[in-house]
């Protein structure tokens, strides 16, 4: 934007006044939507306490209905009282487990775990085993004259180390890692069944693979049913040959006060065992619509409570702690504001603000960790306040615009996720919206704390170029290390609770921007082998790019990240050639890119007609299902369900007449990749169009801010040289990736692209994507634009 586009002082002032009013209206809009959602929420009653009465010697089977656990079997557990009056619990489900965490233990374990001790015997099918020794990291078994030793990682047959089952690089790396230090090696279960003896598998004739497993525990090892084990399948008998011989499926555990249970994903805690058994329902239970027909009477008495919207429920110490913290913070800031008016120095005020923001960020993170224990609306409130503070602080017209669009997108997304939780029959769905809001709030408050601290510290100079470049290298190395950690120790869902891939995308954007900035500074343009062309420096982002592509293909087995990267690469190339100083490069480059995009479009069309043309080693079904959905009812299952839900919603949506969510909840991953389906079903196609318009405006505003950063003169003394270009390429790349996310997500949900597995930014519940990618890009854009505004050129 040139100077002429910024109005003169009178107009600007006028705009500022009306702008603030408008801004407040925009800020209030999603807030009102959220309050409306909470107000219109169905009148749920949540089970808080289950009370079971049983005479001594009696037993009672409980399941889905009585336990209010939607994922449980019809008869899932058997509660019984033995002759002494003590309670015991047995899992009746043939395939699903019940987790039990005695008060003294830190990790829950299956009730079907049978600790192995020396001298004990067990049988899997017709194969009998005798335990010769069982200590931590040392288990010796004997079976038909063969001696098996297991250290928790690698099995030995008659003293011979067995090779890794899967001869891939990951297993080899793990094996080598284990060889260096046994204490560092990851302990893993020994799986029984199948036809092969290898490092963590003991084959058994006539027993399907993974029928039983031997899990390492703190005390040694324990026998448990494997992933393929079923109560009505191959029998697993414990204490075989003794009077206590029992199928592992029939094992029961004693219940004591303080024990925790997970049955069908619902968590319970034992409150008391005498005179009756009382269970507190901790999380994720099914809810009951007040006023609807009462459930059939069972032997379980239930204490009902309404969902905690504002006031914490009595059984939530986390919420009470957080409430005290928030009240203390509010009191502190009020006292600080009243007492210190006009007396304290500005840096002191800034430090005070910074500490306050830091405390709020901490509160947000604590809420995110215990999202099901805090009242529903608390995280939303904190996120909203941080948006208000930031919106009031930005001065540039473009940052204000960006904040307004961000408020609408984030606010709309949070409102949709709140509806997802409040309209769901299962209480646990609140965690998606609440968790996202808490993370967004934490990011906002942390950024605010950093901003205030930064301004309190001034005059610290703007970091110089070397500092920026070294930080980039460190970030790149960190991102690669995180990817490696995910590849080795995590799974495609992430590592240590978050998705490092999102951070890698951000670092890739910055590293590529750095390389292009250097390219822009090079004295020679066009292809050159001149020594001054810093070719080596371009290797950094290329290495990162190669790592990211390899990670997506070999670890995630997914090509959707490559589509994002392709989009990003094209946009970055466009950003580069459009700013090229040589006119032929500018025009021919852009023409070539347009040609490439048209060619890709034709390629996609060709792929639709002949999906077999690309021989993919994975996800080939996805392409075929995209081209002929009717012939691929299983591979295209998600899309079918999604399209059905979208059609059911129509242009108007269903939320206006039906507060309960209904069938759309059956779409797999409706909270994440298929959140747009939820939006289209509940709020209708028109809401989808409004969302698409705001998303387009969001990307366009980022592109405009990037363009403004490019047009800063180098040597005006206020900015370090080159920063403008770096920001230009960073923001262009970020905007392109965000646009690609929007496009891919719409394509996934509406079925016009053969991709899946990418969330829609600021709508899907995708915490890592929000705080490690989207919000940093927005923060960078605002920082750049504010600097631009403070020092107009």
């Amino acid at each position: 934007m040139t100077r002429s586009s910024i109005p003169g002082p009178p107009l600007r002032e006028r705009l500022a006044v009306t702008g603030d009013t408008w801004w407040l209206a925009i800020w209030l809009l999603p807030l009102l939507g959220m309050l409306w959602t909470a107000y219109r929420a169905p009148p749920w009653l949540e089970p808080r306490r289950l009370t079971v009465e049983l005479e001594v010697g009696q037993s009672l089977a409980l399941g889905r209905e009585a336990l209010w656990s939607p994922q449980a079997d019809r008869d899932h557990v058997l509660l019984s009282r033995d002759a002494t009056g003590a309670w015991r619990l047995r899992n009746l489900s043939p395939a699903k487990q019940v987790l039990w965490q005695p008060q003294s233990e830190r990790e829950p374990r299956s009730v079907r775990l049978w600790p192995l001790v020396a001298g004990a015997g067990f049988a899997v099918g017709e194969q009998k085993f005798r335990v010769l020794a069982a200590q931590p990291r040392r288990l010796i078994l004997e079976n038909s004259g063969l001696r098996w030793e297991y250290d928790g990682a690698i099995l030995r047959k008659q003293g011979r180390w067995l090779p890794e089952c899967r001869a891939d690089w990951r297993a080899r790396w793990r094996a080598r890692f284990g060889g260096w230090s046994a204490s560092l090696a990851a302990r893993r279960p020994l799986r029984l069944g199948g036809g092969v003896y290898c490092a963590d598998r003991l084959g058994l004739t006539d027993v399907p693979v993974d029928t039983a497993s031997i899990e390492p525990t703190a005390e040694g090892f324990a026998l448990a049913p494997g992933a393929a084990g079923r109560g009505d399948g191959v029998p697993i008998i414990t204490a075989v040959g003794t009077a206590e011989a029992q199928a592992i499926w029939e094992r029961s555990v004693p219940l004591a006060t303080g024990d925790r249970l997970i049955i069908g994903r619902v968590r319970y805690q034992v409150l008391q065992t005498a005179p009756q058994l009382e269970l507190a329902v901790a999380a994720r239970a099914r809810r009951w619509l007040e006023g609807s027909a009462p459930e059939a009477a069972s032997k379980v008495k239930i204490t009902w409570a309404r969902p905690a919207w504002w006031r914490p429920s009595d059984s939530s110490p986390v919420a009470v702690r957080l409430g005290i913290l928030l009240l203390a913070v509010a009191a502190f800031s009020a006292v600080w504001a009243v007492l210190g008016r006009g007396r304290r120095s500005r840096p002191a005020i800034r430090w005070g603000w910074s500490a306050l923001a830091f405390a709020l960020a901490g509160a947000c993170l604590e809420m995110q960790r215990n999202i099901l224990a805090v009242p529903v609306l608390w995280p939303y409130l904190l996120a909203w306040l941080s948006l208000l503070v930031w919106s009031a602080a930005v001065r540039s017209l473009w940052s204000k615009g960006l904040m307004a669009v961000l408020t609408l997108l984030l606010g709309g997304g949070l409102m949709v996720l709140l509806q997802l939780g409040s309209g769901s029959v299962e209480a646990g769905w609140q965690r998606y919206g609440g968790g996202g809001a808490a993370l967004a709030g934490a990011f906002g408050w942390l950024a605010w704390a950093a901003r205030e601290a930064w301004r309190g510290l001034q005059p610290i100079p703007w970091p110089d170029e070397r500092w920026v470049w070294w930080s980039l290298r460190a970030l790149g190395a960190g991102a690669l290390a995180l990817l490696a950690a995910q590849a080795l120790a995590g799974d495609e869902g992430g590592w240590a609770g978050f998705q490092p891939f999102e951070l890698t995308k951000l670092v890739l954007v910055a590293a590529a921007a750095h390389a292009l900035t250097l390219r822009g500074r090079a004295r020679l343009h066009g292809w050159s082998y001149d020594k001054q062309a810093p070719w080596l420096r371009y290797l950094g982002p290329l290495l990162l790019l190669a790592a990211v592509c390899g990670f997506a293909l070999w670890f995630l087995h997914d090509f959707s990240p490559l589509l994002l990267l392709l989009f990003w690469g094209l946009a970055l190339a466009w950003a580069y050639v459009r700013a090229h100083p040589l006119a032929p490069w500018r025009w021919l480059g852009r023409l070539a890119l347009i040609g490439l995009v048209v060619g890709l479009g034709f390629g996609l069309r060709g792929l639709y007609q002949q999906p077999e043309a690309i021989p993919l080693p994975f996800q080939a079904d996805r392409l075929r299902a995209w081209a002929a959905p009717r012939d691929y009812p299983h591979a295209g299952y998600q899309l079918r369900r999604a399209l059905e839900a979208i059609r059911a919603g129509g242009w108007g949506g269903t939320v206006w007449r039906e507060p309960v969510n209904g069938q759309v909840m059956a779409v797999p991953v409706v909270e994440s990749d298929f959140a747009p389906t939820f939006l289209l079903n509940r709020y209708g196609g028109l809401a989808g169009l409004v969302l698409a318009a705001i998303q387009a405006a969001f990307v366009a505003l980022l592109a405009i801010i990037a363009d403004r950063a490019l047009r800063r003169p180098d040597a005006d003394g206020l900015w370090p040289t080159l920063s403008g270009r770096f920001f230009y390429f960073s923001l262009s790349g970020g905007a392109a990736l965000l646009a690609a996310h929007f496009l891919v997500s719409w394509g996934t949900n509406l079925g016009f692209l053969p991709v899946m597995g990418q969330p829609m930014s600021l709508l899907s519940a995708a915490g890592s994507h929000w705080v490690l990618f989207v919000l940093p890009i927005v923060a960078l854009a605002i920082a750049v634009e504010e600097k631009n505004h403070d020092h107009p050129f």
Partner: protein
């Protein structure tokens, strides 16, 4: 070459920012509007392709089933059940080459390591064990196999001693149901007197071998000598423990004179032993083809005709889930169905398909399909 130190900044261009925002918004809205309008206008969510001119299977499950049979990954066994290639077959093949001494001893079942092996079979094996369609095909096979054997017991106590029956198969507990799988065949319904209801084995576990079924009757008090009972048993020749056999009469489907080799049922007269706490009957299950009127093929998509296995397309009216006995649907023993467009899906797939982790990669060396409840982002 003249050094050109700066990127082109093109100062003084006309302001196009607001225009760009408006254009981007309009383009986004227009594209989405077209897509949505097309979806709303379609009569069904998924467009139907033109009818295929040939009768080759089009659906992925039917194709996979047919190819897996051709490729030898699904085999029809002598007892009528379908054997599925084990999930760790790739590993077994790799070990048969590299470490033949690390293979577990083979059972009497099919030899999966024999025969040709190529990339197509490898791909099919991968699909059979690690894809959503393969999971569905295996569920259908399990449902088919669960109906290939028959065993049932019915009794009356002359002494009025009550009791409850349980059954297991090589230690695996069996569910007993009173519901007959289909209308009574004549030879089963000709009983008079106070006979207790039938106890049918509702579903057979996926055991690879075929051990005898063990029926066990537990009376509430120890029996007294001289107390008698009568049994009617569907299955092979019985072996009785806990009571004395007074008479054993083989029964055939039709013939009045019945040889033991043709028998499908046995009628037993027993006398309790004094103090006996229970009665145990061991008998081999009967192949369902011996009693065709009880053979419930219609409950799965797999059909056996002239010794060949066929996959029935779900548009056939016979494949409806509504015909399932309520006990089986409720007990979750049978993969439930759900109407969805023109296809039916197992309920179990609803949440799992998305999270089905394809652990196999190139080697397909593990059977565990890990199901993650939700993804972290």
């Amino acid at each position: 070459m003249e050094p050109i130190p700066k990127l082109n900044r093109a100062g003084g261009r006309r302001p196009i920012g607001p225009l760009l925002v408006a254009l981007a918004a309009m383009a986004g809205v227009g594209l989405l509007q077209r897509q949505l309008a097309a979806i709303y206008a379609r009569p069904s969510a998924v467009a139907k392709p033109a009818d295929a001119p040939d009768h080759a299977p089009r659906r992925e499950d039917a194709k996979l089933f047919a190819r897996a049979i051709d490729g030898g990954l699904l085999r029809l066994e002598a007892d009528g059940r379908i054997a599925v290639a084990p999930a760790d077959l790739l590993l077994r093949r790799a070990y048969a080459r590299a470490y033949p001494d690390l293979l577990a001893p083979r059972s009497d079942g099919p030899d999966w390591l024999a025969g040709v092996w190529d990339s197509e079979r490898r791909r099919l094996h991968q699909a059979l064990h690690f894809s959503a369609a393969g999971r569905y095909v295996r569920q259908q096979i399990e449902a088919f196999n669960a109906r290939q054997l028959l065993a049932a017991i019915r009794w009356r106590s002359d002494a009025g001693l009550p009791g409850a029956w349980t059954a297991d198969w090589s230690g695996a507990p069996l569910t007993l149901t009173a519901a007959l799988p289909s209308p009574n065949p004549p030879f089963l319904s000709e009983l008079s007197g106070n006979w207790q209801p039938w106890q049918w084995v509702a579903r057979w576990p996926a055991l690879e071998n075929r051990p005898p079924v063990r029926f066990r009757l537990t009376p509430p008090r120890p029996a007294r000598a001289g107390e008698r009972l009568e049994l009617l048993l569907i299955g092979g020749a019985p072996d009785v423990q806990g009571a004395t056999v007074l008479a054993s009469e083989p029964q055939c489907r039709e013939a009045r004179f019945c040889a033991e080799s043709d028998a499908v049922a046995h009628r037993l007269s027993l006398e309790w032993r004094d103090g006996s706490a229970g009665l145990t009957i061991l008998c081999a299950p009967l192949s369902a083809s011996r009693l065709p009127e009880l053979w419930r093929q219609e409950l799965t998509q797999i059909r056996r005709e002239d010794g060949r296995l066929l996959w029935r397309e779900p548009s056939d009216p016979g494949a409806s889930a509504a015909r399932l006995p309520a006990t089986e649907r409720e007990a979750g023993h049978f993969p439930g169905f759900e109407e969805f467009g023109n296809a039916r899906f197992s309920v179990g797939e609803v949440l799992d398909v998305a999270a089905l982790k394809l652990e196999g990669s190139a080697d397909g060396l593990t059977a565990a399909s890990v199901l993650t409840p939700w993804k972290r982002r």
